[in-house]
Symmetry: C2
Subunit: 280 residues, 2 copies
Amino acid sequence: MCQLLGMNCNTPTDIVFSFEGFRKRGGLTDHHVDGFGIGFFEQKGIRLFHDDKPSANSPVADLVRAYQIKSENVIAHIRKATSGRTSLANTHPFVREMWGSYWMFAHNGHLQNFTPARGRYYRPVGNTDSERAFCHILEELRNRSDERPCDDTLFRTLSRLVREIRSHGLFNFILSDGQVMFAHASTLLHYIVRQAPFGEARLLDDDIAVDFSAVTTPNDRVAVIATLPLTENETWQQFACDELVMFRDGAIVRRECPDPPRYLSTEEGLALARAVGASA
Amino acid sequence: MCQLLGMNCNTPTDIVFSFEGFRKRGGLTDHHVDGFGIGFFEQKGIRLFHDDKPSANSPVADLVRAYQIKSENVIAHIRKATSGRTSLANTHPFVREMWGSYWMFAHNGHLQNFTPARGRYYRPVGNTDSERAFCHILEELRNRSDERPCDDTLFRTLSRLVREIRSHGLFNFILSDGQVMFAHASTLLHYIVRQAPFGEARLLDDDIAVDFSAVTTPNDRVAVIATLPLTENETWQQFACDELVMFRDGAIVRRECPDPPRYLSTEEGLALARAVGASA
């Protein structure tokens, strides 16, 4: 299974610390060696880095570290291909423009028999189920409105679309338009909201620690989303299966969750991914 | 005025040699210091690098050199802002998806009173005349057809659109869908087609030479397009004012040129750009 990383903040923040742990899973501490991608929003613009080399030793990933890009919304994805070939056109995150803003999307999981009708506004370029799902979501949102609706309408419409799509299989994803960030879990997805008082965090995948109190202001709020927790001394929250969450300014502003919620252990989540041949 | 660079080939080729000369104009041998962008097609996928640092000493440009990406279609742009602020959303090349392929566009010049109606399929994210022109071109092409038309129809439709747009000012641009590359000159644009027998070329902006016969096969054909010639010992061809050309596999396959053709000297071209405050 691939892994997802997302960050949504109320102030431009560099993702280097989280990304350093995350990228190690691409070839060093884990086996996601079939390339990676990371996309940053900078105001309305985006910066996108894709590489077909494992993230652990990719020069593109080295540049991301060296550059310390500050962003309020970041989405990253490392890939373990279980079927289909690695190609740039199939590398997450995917980007399209809608309502005069860029939208960015990354997925892990696997959708079976998911063949939405060809879109009028959005068509896939590659041949993954992930890009098909992304284009289908945008197509349906765009069909319903010529302008970006309010967060509430957006969340409700997306929720209905996601319910339909996840009936085809595993659909863990992160989606952002540079203002808000949506995260949805079918199996494994975790998050943490860091805010004052900030403390020290130590990476699980590398011998690196950071004292956030030294690099933040008391008003900063940063939500980090990851398939599996990235740090060993913080309490990460797990998304329930089929939970959809919307973040804005580093905080959860909408959420929809089955009642009662159901949580998978890491072993159950990974086994489920293997069983369906999740390849996103 | 900004500068454009394009490459269209019949085999994946690295653009490092041309880009090394070109990037020097971003802060060293010329004054285009307000950022740069370069986009590569790799099969159907794209790789895009933007930086707001001068290209001459940008770590992103260093990565482009180190990576030696091989591509059949490349578009690059270095920027000298004369008005408006530098922002990522305004950095060329711009990208959109149309007919299931990515389209990439970079412009230099300046369009006055160019305010096309808001598009149904394509809207600008930033606020440049360049992105407006790109979205307008795609909108009009997409409105006319649900599928990519043949090269001939595409060229004729684009030619009509360009005639309308260039009535608003200076419109030097390069456009590609990864299969063909269009180039249009209002003022200064040059090209060279390199094919067997290959010889040695020396950069104008750097003390670098390359012997293409050592790095090519006899079947290779590479067209390079640049605002001003990049090498000192080769014969570059100049586009006439208002000439539109379509390249495929490193060769010109369509062209439309006023009769008689009119050519500007470098001094005339630069003076004209200054006079209209070209800022693309």
